[in-house]
């Protein structure tokens, strides 16, 4: 069974600094595999271990994305395809999905594409669904359990207060939520071996056909948010503090 797992390299949001004008300092910022993609990789590797086959890590990003790719390879990826796009050429979500779908078509016989519920930097959760549309494949979103017999994929999905079991014929695209699994920690040996596995670089331009969707969607600005809160701490015994808090809430008119 050939499984493609979509992995995004994301800026570590906790480490990201803003410059004096409030814009993020992205140059040289620390990056890592997007948090939920670890669940995607874990699911893909688990399915491979059960059913045999390969896990192909597919990433679109700049040169810095090699780090995330290696993290995914250390978790059990068989090989990797890196669609190279410098920041200036970074496409919007639809363009990203188009390029990933083109790359998957080139890989050839793919049975299952696994993505995660969303990236830790942008959290839009669109790309998996869009890849499925470009490939004209069934899409099961927000899966918390994934099973396959090589013919069909069966997933549990929690949505709107119900848990449903959804089923689709392979090939298919599935996005998993974080509760699907607990990502493994690779051993030092796995990390070292992964560092030597081949990564195929594919320039983004080579994937763009005449049907590339140019939607004119652009990020106009990114600025830091600021919030000012009162930050009053009430002390004393729990009863005293609670009484003071109740008084403050009454005064605020929020009771």
């Amino acid at each position: 069974m050939n499984i493609v797992v979509l992995v995004k390299s994301a800026v570590d949001e906790a480490e990201l600094k803003a410059d004096q004008s409030g814009h993020p300092v992205l140059k040289g910022a620390a990056t890592k595999m997007s948090a939920f993609d670890m669940n995607g990789v874990e699911e893909a590797v688990k399915l491979k271990e059960k059913n045999g086959g390969t896990v192909i890590v597919l990433t679109l990003g700049g040169p810095e994305a090699k780090k995330a790719i290696k993290e995914a390879m250390a978790m059990g990826g068989t090989k990797a395809v890196h669609v190279l796009a410098e920041a200036a050429d970074a496409p919007d979500s639809l363009g990203t999905a188009y390029c990933l779908a083109q790359a998957i078509k080139r890989i050839g016989a793919v049975d299952l594409v696994v993505s995660s519920e969303g990236a830790s930097d942008t959290y839009q959760g669109e790309v998996g669904a869009m890849v499925a549309e470009f490939l004209d494949l069934p899409f099961i979103a927000y899966a918390k359990k994934v099973e396959t017999d090589g013919v069909k994929v069966r997933c549990e999905q929690g949505l709107r207060g119900t848990v449903r079991v959804l089923e689709a014929r392979l090939p298919a695209v599935v996005s998993v939520v974080s509760e699907a699994n607990v990502p493994r920690y690779p051993t030092l040996l796995q990390v070292m071996v992964a560092g030597k596995k081949a990564i195929e670089d594919v320039p983004i331009a080579s994937l763009k056909g005449p049907d590339y969707p140019d939607t004119g969607t652009v990020v106009v600005d990114v600025s830091v948010q600021s919030a000012s809160r009162k930050r009053v701490i009430f002390d004393g015994t729990p009863e005293e503090a609670a009484r003071k808090l109740a008084g403050a809430l009454k005064q605020e008119g929020v009771l």
Partner: protein, 309 residues
């Protein structure tokens, strides 16, 4: 003239809000605002917009595939200027599918929609909600509207125009439906929220939070680990970047550390209260009022103090 601005939500709680967003955008574009409804008109739809009811040979809202297909059939026949969908997991999938099928821009999930030089502009959270990205797209395009960003009107909709579409079998089949953990209905529009985090040692202890919620007349929410990892509460109850964006008058965070991703969902609260035993928990940095202490002592004391008035 620009095509109609369509608004849609499968959630009765959000249908009115997204209709209001559609009306605002339509006004800016000088276009018609149309509320799209699938299968049946939602009881929550309060709007002065024109209502178009789309019906398929199968229930369209049974699955995102069919909902997207129903919307696609309608827009292919009539065109559109923009499609606004209220933010839920279901809505997110429908928006992505429609954008991909039509090959139009997808602005993602955000608020403060505006029109600039003929483009639709949205503001959305990025980098864990620490930054705001302003994103613009040519028309027509698709956008997902954050809960609480618009206020539902209080009008009763006029008669709906009914449109029949044929969508075909979805590629995904539902083989089983079980009752899951119910999330708190309507948490996205709740005026008061008591929210529980991993500071609670056992599921049974949530009764302490529930008692406070009852005393306040508040809804009960939680941090992501409580719904996702522990399964103590329904998925819809989790608040933050990946869950509900809430905007209550009062938000009480109990045993929640206040990581970026949780805080992203509560920024629009009027008053934020934090109860945590760790004085250095980041939640205190974004709270108006705080008590440093053991929730097992502080929360019952607060419930009692509130009951005494």
């Amino acid at each position: 003239m620009t095509g109609a601005v369509l608004s849609y939500s499968e959630s009765p709680d959000l249908a009115g809000e997204v209709a209001a967003a559609g009306q605002e955008v339509a006004k800016m574009l000088g276009a018609e605002a149309v509320s799209l409804e699938l299968d049946e008109v939602s009881p929550g739809l309060l709007t002065a917009n024109k209502v178009v009811l789309v019906k398929g040979e199968l229930p369209l809202e049974a699955i995102a595939d069919s909902a997207a297909a129903g919307i696609l059939e309608l827009v292919k026949a009539r065109g559109f200027g923009a499609l606004l969908i209220a933010e839920t997991r279901f809505g997110t999938i429908v928006a992505a599918k429609v954008a991909a099928r039509l090959r139009v821009g997808s602005l993602g999930k955000g608020k403060k929609l505006r029109v600039d030089e003929g483009r639709l502009v949205i503001e959305r959270d990025v980098y864990g909600g620490r930054f705001t990205a302003t994103v613009a797209s040519r028309l027509p395009c698709v956008a997902v509207v954050q809960a609480g960003a618009y206020e539902a009107a209080d009008a009763s909709p006029g008669p709906a125009e009914s449109v029949a579409v044929t969508v075909g079998e979805p590629k995904v089949a539902i083989t089983q439906t079980k009752q899951g953990q119910q999330g708190e209905a309507g948490i996205k529009s709740a005026l008061k929220i008591v929210s529980a985090g991993r500071g609670f040692a056992r599921k049974e202890d949530l009764v302490i939070a529930q008692d406070l919620a009852s005393a306040l007349g508040a809804s009960l929410g939680c941090s992501r680990p409580l719904s996702s990892d522990l399964g103590w509460m329904g998925e819809e109850a989790h608040i933050g970047l990946t869950g509900a964006y809430v905007h209550p008058q009062l938000y009480v965070a109990i045993g929640i550390s206040g990581q970026l991703q949780h805080v992203a969902g509560i920024k629009d609260s009027k008053v934020i209260v934090a109860i945590n035993k760790d004085a250095h928990a980041p939640i205190f940095q974004v709270a108006d009022y705080g008590i440093v202490g053991d929730l097992y002592e502080v929360v019952p004391a607060l419930t009692k103090a509130l009951k005494q008035g």
